[in-house]
Symmetry: C2
Subunit: 222 residues, 2 copies
């Protein structure tokens, strides 16, 4: 299998080159780029819909929505008021890579953009290995998935900067413990900032919006 | 990237060889082998716990539990009464492959075993491409994940024989429609047998147990 490992290294090093280029470009324009990762159905698109509705007047937001098949997420984000939304259909691939993002960026006018959301493929494993040139990875977990997930998929939690615990409205219908998931996540990555929210009811979203604005202010001051 | 495609083909063809060998071995012993696939947290382990509790006296069941990290699932299955449970920790890999299963099988006494469950890594993309020598793939989806998932991850639904819709107790707290998920799944794979259940409440599990017994009877008659 050495041949396989060699090829994988080559692919990753090519990916890293393109990601570094993207990172430079976005830094020049003082854009906060967030790579949104999670299992399928944890609520990435719902969070971005809510964020667009609440923040579209306050922040200039561009979005790239990745999916294995269909452009449903991109359509949802357009309906939620997204001004610049680009779709990447990976056609079977289990993660976005920097090259796909680079191509999508060609169709986005970055002038004045303050936040770029990149919604990755719903997959808690593979996207963790591919740098997309983002500032931070934001990992979502929903309370219906079980509080053991950080231990079972450590790489994603290790490489993320923020953890969003979604679907808190369903807490009472499962054995999921907020305390335990925080503890599990922090045993992997002590620096994780965490948010608890329900994108369905809207509860708990304000701290997330504040965080976004703070990141944009930091970037502009940098 | 042709080099990458070539390597992938080689890996898959080696995998298929081993899978074919496993399939022959299991067929000789008239064992029904089911490859359980889903997103993280859809309830694969919960379903197997329930199945062990209900069927351990009626069926001779062996289990292989795959995970990226931790042996938690295998521990849970042992606690639920599993007599032969083997754990595969993939150490980062996003799916099980036939070689891993082959090694786990070396530690299982297959004499008298009627059903072999292989619980795959929680990932709705990558496990679809790797034959493990199973009779059938069984895909789970939980009602909290959204009824669009078959359209977004078609490969897994195309290659599965049965669809388990889990967490029906949470139906009233989301916009998930059983009818729509069935329709979406059948637009990808018209032959999918479907089950609706809540592993939490135990509702709807009997048809699944009946199906298992029927598959065992068919296999013995074959």
């Amino acid at each position: 299998m050495n041949e396989k490992i060699e090829i994988k290294k080559k692919v990753l090093s090519k990916n890293d080159e393109i990601a570094a280029e993207i990172r430079r470009r976005l830094a020049d324009k003082k854009i906060v780029a967030l790579n949104m990762v999670s299992s399928p159905g944890s609520g990435k698109t719902s969070l971005l819909e809510k964020t667009l509705t609440a923040m579209n007047d306050r922040l200039n937001i561009a979005l790239i929505a990745g999916d294995v098949q269909t452009e449903n997420d991109a359509q949802r984000l357009l309906r939620a008021g997204g001004k610049q939304v680009r779709s990447i259909v990976t056609g079977g691939a289990c993660h976005l890579d920097a090259n796909m993002v680079n191509k999508a960026l060609e169709e986005i006018d970055l002038t004045g953009v303050e936040v770029l959301f990149i919604e990755n493929v719903g997959n808690l494993v593979c996207p963790s290995g591919f740098d997309l040139g983002e500032d931070k990875k934001v990992v979502l977990i929903s309370t219906t998935e079980g509080d053991d997930k950080p231990l079972k998929y450590p790489s994603m939690f290790r490489r993320s900067s923020a953890l969003i615990i979604n679907k808190t409205d369903l807490l009472e219908y499962s054995d999921f413990s907020i305390e335990r998931v925080r503890e599990n996540a922090r045993s992997i990555n002590a620096d994780l900032e965490t948010f608890e929210m329900s994108c369905r009811t809207g509860a708990g979203l304000d701290p997330w919006y504040d965080w976004l604005e703070a990141k944009v202010a930091e970037k502009k001051g940098s």
